[in-house]
């Protein structure tokens, strides 16, 4: 892929993120900023999930657990070692990556649907361990994490500042995911997604790269967890159990896992839709369920993929597809 084309694919996301960064100019409510911050932390995790699911074709139903590892790592580091936000970031990212590897090595060996079940079980298991961890994990009540987040001496705890910082992290996550997609590493992951047998015959160590993609998704999740923990000031096990994981998988599918805009769209939509439609939690679950089924059946590339295709059809009269797009069957005709 030519660098020019690759760069152009990043541009729309950067423009959207620039607009999002300008939102505080319109003095939004605190409620809006809070929703946006938690959506932003989700989007960071979703960029990791898009590498795993969109590029490599592996679905994890335990992604929130990896976010939780990052969040608890940050809280425990702050409590026991007096470690602040900026040091916690790389350490928590590493902790989530290591957890991903520990879960990934046995799970990815068995392959396919087993992996989905293993990651789901891991999410449940982590919640149980955290709930029964006594004072160390704060049991069911969880842990508080106090402490200011400062950047170049400025206190970032103020809602607007934290919002801007999260937007910066989302941008970094989008650029990182874009860089992966357009690298030889990204091509390798797509090859595995398309046809493992062929990939192996061409010298690709399929098992190692699948574990690697899971570990990479863990890094994104860990960073997301630190941002979430410092934002909420309090974390508890239920935030990282299977339900939140399913939500993350749902968001990335609704947005479109293979497109750079997908995680952003999915994260924002799922966060704000109930707000906009004024739905209670039960109603919004129903709406998400229906959305998911509709996306799976009608828009294999997610919402953004669907919109892009519709625009193409509208402008050129025929659908044309690109490399990262399209849910093609994994094997060519026999």
């Amino acid at each position: 892929m030519k660098t020019g084309n690759a760069l152009r694919s990043l541009l729309p996301v950067l423009v959207i993120l620039a607009l999002i960064a300008a939102v505080p100019l319109f003095s939004p409510s605190n409620r809006f900023l809070s929703l946006a911050i938690s959506a932003g932390t989700n989007v960071i995790a979703l960029y990791g999930l898009s590498v795993l699911f969109g590029q490599t074709g592996i679905l994890s139903m335990g992604h929130a657990a990896l976010v939780g590892v990052g969040a608890y790592a940050a809280a425990i580091l702050a409590r026991d070692f007096g470690v602040g936000f900026w040091t916690a970031l790389p350490v928590a990212a590493l902790a989530s990556a290591v957890f991903a590897m520990i879960v990934g090595i046995p799970s990815l060996r068995v392959g396919g649907h087993h992996f989905v079940i293993m990651t789901f079980a891991f999410g449940q298991l982590l919640a149980i361990v955290l709930t029964n961890g006594g004072d160390y994990t704060g049991a069911a009540t969880g842990l508080d994490i106090a402490g200011p987040v400062t950047l170049f001496g400025a206190d970032m705890s103020d809602l607007t500042r934290y919002y801007l910082m999260v937007v910066a992290f989302v941008t970094a996550a989008a650029v990182a995911s874009w860089a992966i997609i357009h690298s030889s590493y990204g091509r390798t992951l797509r090859a595995i997604r398309e046809n493992e047998k062929l990939a192996a015959s061409l010298g690709i160590n399929v098992g190692r790269h699948k574990i690697g993609a899971f570990v990479v998704s863990g890094v994104f999740a860990g960073i997301s967890g630190v941002l979430l923990a410092y934002f909420l000031g309090h974390i508890s096990p239920s935030q990282f159990s299977s339900f939140p994981s399913i939500y993350l998988a749902l968001m990335v599918m609704i947005g479109g896992a293979r497109l750079i805009e997908g995680p952003l769209a999915g994260g924002i939509l799922v966060a704000f839709l109930p707000e906009v439609l004024n739905l209670d939690p039960v109603q919004s679950r129903i709406v998400y369920g229906v959305c998911l089924i509709a996306v799976i059946m009608l828009l294999p590339d997610g919402l953004i993929g669907g919109i892009v295709r519709a625009l193409r059809v509208a402008f050129s009269g025929k659908p044309k597809q690109e490399a990262e797009r399209d849910a093609a069957p994994s094997e060519a005709r026999q």
Binding site: M1, S184, R187, T188, R190, A191, R193, E194, N195, K197, L198, A199, A200, S201, L202, G203, I204, N205, V206, Q321, A323, D326, A327, A328, P329, S330, E331, A332, R333, Q334
Partner: protein, 240 residues
């Protein structure tokens, strides 16, 4: 000169089925060796075991004197053995050029001068350069086979195993393929090819090995093997 590939006593059981019953076979450097035999005689299994797709139940495979028995497929590819599957395949959802690009990114470093230094050069070689921008999944079957060949060549093998590369091709495509395969030894690539089409095999191979029920029943110059009563017997009423 010692053979590039030395297979000895290679066996493979699938449950109760003996797909390979102790096969000995030597592939000489620079030749195009044909492997023939009736349906189910173990030809594909032979290739699958050599390339690590299946683990052998017994026997050894030496590649340039190195024991590669039971290694993983990616390791065998990197050792320098290319493989095109009987079922033509490519990365259907990805572009044709991207397919070839990927295939060239995981080979071992070093080696001799590359006759096809870029993915584009390889597409030119197999005659697909006009289709580089298409998605592999939309290629017509003949082009898909050629893309499969380009993918295997992109790994820069010194030995290439082709499993029925002409199956499903029309006459024009078949002769184009023959033209390509014949050039490979000149580029330092030894070829071992399976096919049922004896005319094609006569065009390509000076030497044939014949499998029947997982055992090698003949091995020698093509004309001699095709006149061998044992071989004629196996093919009685068949396609010879």
């Amino acid at each position: 000169m010692s053979p590039i590939l030395a297979i000895s006593g290679l066996g493979k059981q699938f449950g109760g089925v003996t797909a390979l019953a102790g096969v000995d076979l030597a592939v000489e450097e620079g030749e195009i060796l044909g492997v023939v035999g009736p349906n189910g005689s173990g030809k594909t299994t032979l290739f699958n075991v050599v390339t690590g797709v299946h683990k052998p139940s017994g026997g050894t495979v030496l590649f340039r004197g190195r024991d590669i028995t039971g290694l993983a497929p990616h390791a065998i590819s990197r050792a320098g053995i290319g493989y095109t599957f009987q079922q033509a395949m490519a990365f259907a959802g990805l572009g044709v050029l991207e397919n070839v690009q990927i295939a060239g990114e995981h080979r071992r470093a070093g080696g001799a001068a590359n006759p096809w230094p870029t993915p584009q050069a390889l597409l030119d070689f197999v005659g697909l350069s006009a289709l580089g921008g298409e998605k592999a999944g939309v290629l017509p079957f003949g082009s898909l086979r050629l893309l499969g060949l380009a993918l295997a060549l992109a790994t820069r093998p010194s030995l290439l195993l082709l499993d029925e590369p002409a199956a499903g091709l029309n006459d024009r495509e078949t002769s184009a393929l023959v033209g390509l395969v014949r050039q490979l030894p000149g580029h330092g690539i030894t070829v071992c090819v399976i096919d049922h089409d004896m005319k094609l095999m006569q065009m390509l191979c000076r030497r044939l090995a014949v499998l029947d029920f997982g055992s090698k029943i003949a091995d020698g110059p093509t004309e001699k093997v095709l006149a061998d009563p044992k071989v004629l017997d196996v093919y009685l009423g068949g396609d010879l």
